[in-house]
C-alpha cells in the first residue's frame, strides 16, 4: 500500500509545469484565440519533443510506454494553464484506444507518428455528441451505431460549433463508414468505448483540479493586491472563507482522481466507480472555484480583460464532457444500491 507518487513522476510533473507555465501564458492563449485553428503546430512539436505526445505510446512504436497514472499529474498541469492543444485526449483516450483496438495495422501506422508529433488523433464518443479538435486531427476514431471507426481526416466532413470557451473547438463530424476502417463492433466496441469514456473522464477530472488550483492562485494574488476600504480585500474574512472553501474541497477531490488513474492503469474492477467519483468531485470543485473566484474578483472578474475567465470558461465547458454529473451519479448509485454492495470501513481498497 503506497498512495504517493514516485520521485520520477513528481519530477516529470515539475518539468512539464515549468514548461507549460512559461509557454502557455494568458497572453499566448489570447493570441491563439485569434488564429483560425486556435492550435499551434510549434507548440505541438515542443510537446512531442518532451515525449508527451507519445507518453502512452508503447516503446516499440517510439513512445515512452507509460500509463494513465504517469500522466495524471501532467493532465492536472495542462488544466492549470488551460492548455487547448489536444494533448490530454490524445494521450489518455486516442492512443490507448489505438493500442487496444486489436487492429495492429492501424496501430502500427499511426502510433509512431503520434509519438513523434507528426500526426494527431482524436476520439469522438457518442456521449460527447461533438468531437473536440477534429479540425487538427489526421486520424479520427469515431463511435457510430455502437461500432468504432478509424477515419482519415480527408474522409471526414466537419461542421464547426462555437463554445463559450474560445479555446475549445468542437465539431459535428460526418463520415461514410464505407470509406473508413471499422475497428470494433458489438461487445468489443462497447468495452473500448467504456474505457475511452473512463479515460476521457479522468482527463477532465485531472484538468479540473488544475483549473481549480489556478483560479485559487489568481484570486489569492488579486485579493492580496486589490484594496477597498483601505485594506487588501483578501484580509476580509468572507473573502478568505470563499477561498478556503475551494482549497479544502480540492484536497478531497485530488485523491479520488489519483485513485481513478491508478485503477484505470491497473484495470481494477472498481475503475468505473472510481472514475465517476473522481469526475464528480473534481468538476464540482472547479465549479465552486469559478463561482467563488469571480465573486472575490468583483467586477474585474466579469471582464474579458482579466485572465480569470479563461479558466472559468474551461471549467464550465468541461463539466459535461465525458459524461454529465447525472451519468456519473447513476454509475455510483448502481454500485451503492446493488445487493451485497461492498461498502463501509475496509472496503475501499
Amino acid at each position: 500500500m503506497d498512495f504517493t507518487f514516485s520521485e520520477d513522476q513528481l519530477l516529470f510533473q515539475e518539468s512539464v509545469r515549468d514548461f507549460l507555465v512559461n509557454e502557455i501564458t494568458p497572453d499566448k492563449i489570447r493570441q491563439l484565440w485569434e488564429t483560425d485553428s486556435g492550435r499551434s503546430d510549434e507548440l505541438w512539436q515542443q510537446l512531442a519533443e518532451m515525449g508527451l505526445t507519445g507518453l502512452t505510446v508503447p516503446e516499440d512504436f517510439g513512445g515512452l510506454g507509460m500509463n494513465e497514472l504517469d500522466f495524471v499529474l501532467l493532465a492536472q498541469e495542462a488544466g492549470y494553464v488551460a492548455l487547448s492543444e489536444p494533448l490530454v485526449n490524445s494521450v489518455l483516450v486516442a492512443t490507448p484506444l489505438l493500442s487496444e483496438c486489436g487492429n495492429s495495422a492501424i496501430a502500427e501506422q499511426w502510433l509512431p507518428k503520434i509519438a513523434s508529433g507528426e500526426a494527431r488523433a482524436v476520439v469522438g464518443l457518442a456521449v460527447n455528441k461533438l468531437v473536440e479538435d477534429a479540425h487538427c486531427a489526421d486520424l479520427l476514431l469515431l463511435e457510430k451505431g455502437g461500432a468504432i471507426y478509424a477515419v482519415e481526416a480527408a474522409n471526414a466532413s466537419l461542421r464547426a460549433n462555437e463554445s463559450v470557451d474560445p479555446g475549445r473547438k468542437l465539431f459535428a463530424v460526418d463520415f461514410d463508414p464505407a470509406a473508413a476502417v471499422c475497428l470494433a463492433e458489438g461487445g468489443a466496441a462497447q468495452a473500448l468505448i467504456n474505457k475511452a469514456l473512463n479515460r476521457g473522464a479522468l482527463g477532465v477530472a485531472a484538468q479540473s483540479l488544475g483549473l481549480a488550483q489556478r483560479m485559487i492562485d489568481l484570486s489569492v494574488r488579486y485579493t492580496s493586491e486589490r484594496k477597498q476600504f483601505g485594506v487588501a480585500i483578501g484580509s476580509f474574512q468572507a473573502v478568505k472563507h470563499h477561498m478556503a472553501n475551494i482549497a479544502y474541497k480540492l484536497e478531497y477531490a485530488k485523491t479520488p482522481v489519483y485513485r481513478a488513474a491508478y485503477d484505470i492503469a491497473n484495470d481494477t474492477p472498481r475503475a468505473d466507480l472510481s472514475v465517476s467519483h473522481a469526475k464528480l468531485a473534481a468538476c464540482e470543485v472547479a465549479d465552486l472555484a469559478a463561482k467563488n473566484s469571480i465573486q472575490v474578483h468583483g467586477a474585474m472578474g466579469y471582464t474579458w480583460e482579466v485572465d480569470l475567465h479563461i479558466f472559468m470558461k474551461r471549467a464550465w465547458a468541461l463539466n459535461s464532457s465525458y459524461g454529465t454529473a447525472g451519468f456519473h451519479k447513476n454509475r455510483v448509485a448502481a454500485v451503492l444500491l446493488a445487493d451485497n454492495a461492498a461498502l463501509g470501513a475496509g472496503a475501499t481498497f
Binding site: 455528441k129 463561482k291 472578474g301 471582464t303 464550465w316 459535461s320
Partner: protein
C-alpha cells in the same frame, strides 16, 4: 389582506397585454451591447414612449401614467411574459429620472426628462472608480468650479459604467471639495458624453461584448446648471438613487418568474436525462418556489410602500435573493442542456439551448454589482440585526 386583483387592475393588465401584443417586435432585437442593437433598443424606447408605456410610474405630464406600484408590477409581468426588449435606458428612467424629479430644478426636469423618456438621451452612470468599487465614498475624480462660477472642470476616471459605450449622457459623483474626505464634499453632476476631453474606453465583458466602459475626464467643462442638488450634497442625492437602484424597479419578480417558467419547461422537455441527477429536480422545484417568494415579498413591499411605509433592509435582502436565484436557475438549465450547454446559440448543433448561456454569463454579475453580496450581508447584519461593526 386581499390577494386578488381588482377589476381595474385586470382591465389595466388587458390593456398592457394587447398593446404589447401589437407592438413587441416579432424578431428579438440584437443585444444592446452591440451598436446595432443599441440603436434598435433606442427605437423601442421611443415606441414605448409613444404608447405612454415608457415609464408608467411617471406623472402624466411627463409622459407617464401616474401608475402606482401595483400597476407597475402588473405592467412588468405582462412585459416579461411578452418577451419585450430589455430597457436600454434603465439607468435614466429608473434611477436618474426619479432622482431628478426629487432634486432637480424645474428647468432641469424640463430639459432632461423628456429626452430621457423618448429615448433621445440614453444615460449611463458614473459611480465606481478604479479604487472605489464597493467603497463609493473613496471617489477621487474632481470637479473644480471655474473662477467665474459658470462651469465645473472635471478630471478623473469612472469605471464599470454600464452601456456607456453608446450612451449620450453620464450622471455621477465628483469631488468638488479637494480637501474633503469620504462622503463629504461630493457633488452630483450630469455630463454630456460628447464633451471635449472625454474618452470612453469600452470594457469587454464575459461574452466579449463591450457592456460597460471606463470614462476618462481630461479637463472636461460642464456648465454649472448640470449640477443636481447643491454643491457638496452629492452623497445624499446619490443615496436616493442607490435606494431606487436596489429597490424593486430594476429587478422585477416577473423577470425571474419567466426564467423559472422556462426552466420548468426545459426540465419537462428533458426529464428523462435530467432525472439521472437528482439535484436537478430539486433545483427546479426550488427555482419555482423562490421566484414565487420573490414575487410575494415584492408585492408585500409594494403594498407597504403604497400605505406610506419606507424601504428598509429589503434593498439588501432582495439583492442577495434574486442574484443567487438567477445564478442558480441558469446553472440548472445548463446542467439540463448537458454537453450542448457550452455552445453559443448560433452554433449549428446547439439545438434547444435558447439564451441560457448568455443568461448564465449575465447572471455572474448579479452577486457582484451594485454592492457585492458580501457588502449586502454586512449591511443586513449591522443595520437590520444590529450586530457590532467592529
Amino acid at each position: 389582506m386581499k390577494l386578488e386583483y381588482t377589476a381595474e387592475h385586470q382591465a389595466f393588465r388587458e390593456e398592457v397585454r394587447s398593446w404589447l401584443k401589437a407592438n413587441v417586435p416579432a424578431e428579438p432585437l440584437k443585444s444592446f451591447d452591440t451598436e446595432e442593437g443599441f440603436q434598435q433598443h433606442r427605437e423601442w424606447e421611443a415606441k414605448l414612449y409613444e404608447g405612454r408605456w415608457g415609464m408608467i410610474t411617471w406623472p402624466e405630464e411627463m409622459g407617464g401614467r401616474g401608475a402606482d406600484l401595483l400597476q407597475w408590477l402588473i405592467f412588468e409581468e405582462e412585459y416579461y411574459a411578452a418577451s419585450a426588449p430589455l430597457r436600454v435606458n434603465q439607468n435614466g428612467i429608473f434611477l436618474l429620472g426619479p432622482t431628478l424629479m426629487e432634486y432637480g430644478t424645474e428647468e432641469q426636469k424640463k430639459r432632461f426628462l423628456n429626452g430621457m423618456a423618448t429615448g433621445k438621451d440614453i444615460w449611463c452612470q458614473g459611480w465606481s472608480e478604479p479604487n472605489a468599487g464597493s467603497d463609493m465614498a473613496a471617489i477621487r475624480s474632481r470637479a473644480d468650479l471655474s473662477e467665474d462660477g459658470s462651469h465645473y472642470i472635471i478630471n478623473g476616471q469612472k469605471t464599470w459604467s454600464t452601456r456607456a459605450v453608446w450612451a449620450d449622457w453620464c450622471f455621477g459623483m465628483f469631488r468638488t471639495d479637494p480637501e474633503s474626505e469620504r462622503h463629504r464634499g461630493l457633488t452630483f453632476i450630469l455630463v454630456p458624453l460628447d464633451s471635449e476631453g472625454i474618452t470612453v474606453r469600452p470594457i469587454p465583458q464575459l461574452d466579449g461584448l463591450p457592456g460597460f466602459a471606463e470614462i476618462f475626464f481630461d479637463n472636461v467643462k460642464v456648465p454649472v446648471d448640470c449640477r443636481l442638488g447643491g454643491e457638496g450634497e452629492g452623497w445624499s442625492v446619490a443615496m436616493a438613487t442607490a435606494g431606487f437602484e436596489r429597490g424593486l424597479m430594476l429587478r422585477s419578480p416577473a423577470r425571474f418568474q419567466e426564467t423559472a417558467k422556462r426552466l420548468v419547461e426545459l426540465y419537462k422537455a428533458n426529464q428523462e436525462t435530467a432525472d439521472e441527477d437528482p439535484s436537478i429536480r430539486e433545483a427546479v422545484l426550488r427555482a419555482y418556489m423562490d421566484a414565487e417568494a420573490y414575487c410575494l415579498t415584492t408585492y408585500q413591499t409594494a403594498c407597504r410602500l403604497m400605505q406610506g411605509g419606507k424601504i428598509g433592509a429589503e434593498a439588501s435582502t432582495n439583492k442577495i435573493f434574486w442574484s443567487e436565484l438567477d445564478q442558480q436557475m441558469h446553472a440548472t438549465a445548463l446542467k439540463i442542456l448537458e454537453t450542448r450547454g457550452e455552445l453559443l446559440p448560433e452554433s449549428p448543433d446547439a439545438g434547444d439551448v435558447g439564451r441560457w448561456l448568455d443568461g448564465w454569463l449575465f447572471a455572474q454579475s448579479g452577486p457582484i454589482y451594485a454592492g457585492t453580496n458580501e457588502i449586502q450581508r454586512n449591511i443586513i447584519a449591522e443595520r437590520m440585526l444590529g450586530m457590532p461593526r467592529k
